[in-house]
């Protein structure tokens, strides 16, 4: 039962299109239209003037393309009390994401390595609890974490939100690295042990260089996950560290007077731009990441 062998396409490509194949492509095109329409609508709406949006031609291309809505969304739309656009949220999101991704991926890599090669007593139970943690709803854990962070005085700070992202990212990242390291030949590790290398030496000199691809998968998974987070940013971000998703929702919900749909859509695109760019540039790794997140080894 070799699976890779079956991954190749079956048979020849048919030369002539039969009616059934027309139906097949018809269905595919209809589905693709359903999936693409919201993206299309979001983009054209953001490029229209508010007057043109009010004409109600949702699917029409803009008569005159203008980036005013984008500029307003970025720098002067109101997110509650302040009117600085979504750019402060962008800066916050970049800070939160970069720091959280670096720390959580490093922790996950070390955990996975320790669990695969240094099976100390209780390691399996520990890992079992951690995997359970991946399924625990955030709501069952958030309040005690708030109490704890208030006690030690990091609630609402960058450190606080980074800590929360590291906690909730740990199960899946550890799982990914553990499965990867478990697939490496044990002899590799034993040979290094015989040569007298210790825990950190083996990790830094042997394991880290070998785990570049899986690290890329983990980084992409965490980057999109943390960037797209709303709940944790809302609760733990405090006033100074609200991520872009939270500010985006504020822009849309706290509009005074006229609702500026074009500005809302521009802000939405700006927020979606980072994960979308990651997705289109790293398709293969992205798919591997969700597959790794989905299927246990």
């Amino acid at each position: 039962m070799t699976q890779t062998q079956n991954a190749v396409a079956r048979g020849r490509k048919p030369k002539k299109m039969s009616p059934a194949r027309y139906g097949l492509y018809g269905l595919l095109v209809i589905s693709a239209t359903f999936f693409l329409t919201p993206l299309y609508v979001m983009i054209v709406t953001s490029l229209k003037t508010l007057d043109e949006v009010r004409l109600g031609k949702l699917f029409a291309l803009p008569e005159t393309v203008t980036f005013d809505a984008w500029i307003k969304a970025w720098s002067s739309a109101c997110t509650g009390v302040t009117c600085e656009g979504i750019s402060p949220g962008f800066v916050n999101s970049v800070q939160i994401t970069v720091v959280s991704v670096i720390i959580s991926v490093m922790l996950g890599a070390v955990n996975g390595y320790a669990l695969s090669f240094w099976r100390y007593r209780g390691a399996n139970v520990l890992f079992g609890i951690l995997v359970m943690g991946a399924f625990v709803p955030f709501q069952a854990v958030i309040y005690p974490l708030i109490v704890f962070q208030r006690e030690i005085g990091i609630f609402g700070s960058l450190a606080g939100i980074v800590m929360v992202h590291c906690i909730f990212g740990m199960p899946i990242i550890t799982l990914i690295f553990r499965n990867y390291f478990a697939s490496l030949p044990e002899e590799l590790f034993k040979a290094a042990r015989i040569d007298g290398a210790g825990f950190w030496q083996i990790f830094v000199r042997i394991m880290m260089p070998m785990s570049v691809p899986i690290t890329a998968v983990a980084v992409i998974l965490q980057t999109t996950g943390i960037w797209n987070d709303y709940l944790l940013g809302l609760v733990f971000g405090g006033r100074d560290n609200q991520p872009m998703t939270v500010q985006l929702n504020n822009i849309v919900t706290t509009s005074y007077g006229v609702r500026e749909y074009n500005v809302n859509m521009a802000a939405t695109i700006l927020t979606a731009a980072v994960p979308l760019a990651i997705y289109f540039l790293s398709g293969r790794f992205f798919v591997k990441g969700i597959a790794a997140g989905a299927v246990k080894g």
Binding site: N6, F35, M42, Y120, P144, M170, T224
Partner: protein, 294 residues
Amino acid sequence: MKRKTRMWSNLSAKIASIPMLITAVGVFILCVAYSIALSFTPSRYFPKFDFIGFDQYIRLWTTDRWTISVYNLLIFGVLFIGFCLVIGFILAVLIDRNIRMEGVFRTIFLYPYALSFVVTGLIWQWMMDPALGIQNVVRNLGWESFNFAPLTSTEYAIYGVVIAAVWQGTGLIMCLMLAGLRGIDREIWKAARVDGIPLWRTYVFIIIPMIRPVIVTAVVLKAISVVRVYDLVVAQTGGGPGIATEVPAKFVIDHFTERGNVAIAMAAATMMLLPVLLLVGPWVYNEYVRRARA
């Protein structure tokens, strides 16, 4: 002496595992236990440990907003998982039929999965706008009685949320199903063709049973995301109109933040945790603790 060396030999590994230990025990056991404990107290804004039994649970289940939340979650869950599985499977089958531009179609079906729920909710809120959205476009084409503004009706709003969620989540299911289809032995197809079994029967009676593990994984994954659904509702409907699209996750957050009722929030969180523990607990124990030990 021997015991001592053994303890010291793994010392670095043990030290390196301290963050994991703190997370596993400190967060996923102690914090969860703390949440559960609070659900048996009369805590309002701050924790207060007077034990009052199951009072909060009784209040919870007699609160309209909670029962509506649970009901919504069931409707949402069944429809969302059902549509994702069916559409995801069909798309995977279509893509698996030797098509041209396979990569393009796959990319298109999966890209919404890269977007956050907030973005998803806001896009669909705009598409479903009663005055300027899809409804208006179709009416302008001449179909005056056309109705598609689910978010303004208490009865249909939850279905509007389902549409947005299906749009966002189907790509993942398609991906998993496609991997399942590609893993099927080619001989099966040949045998089915030789026996003259029609294509649809081959899929329904042979292929679907063969990819059952993939389907189970897909259902488990989606079920977990259903229990967690929060930001999509916040962005798309804000729980409204009225309390028509409230969900349990939002109930918990709202009650321990703005409503200042920690105890009932924790009772609700415990109710959310319960099905997860009952379903996933035995599976994790079996897969990761027992098997690894053997």
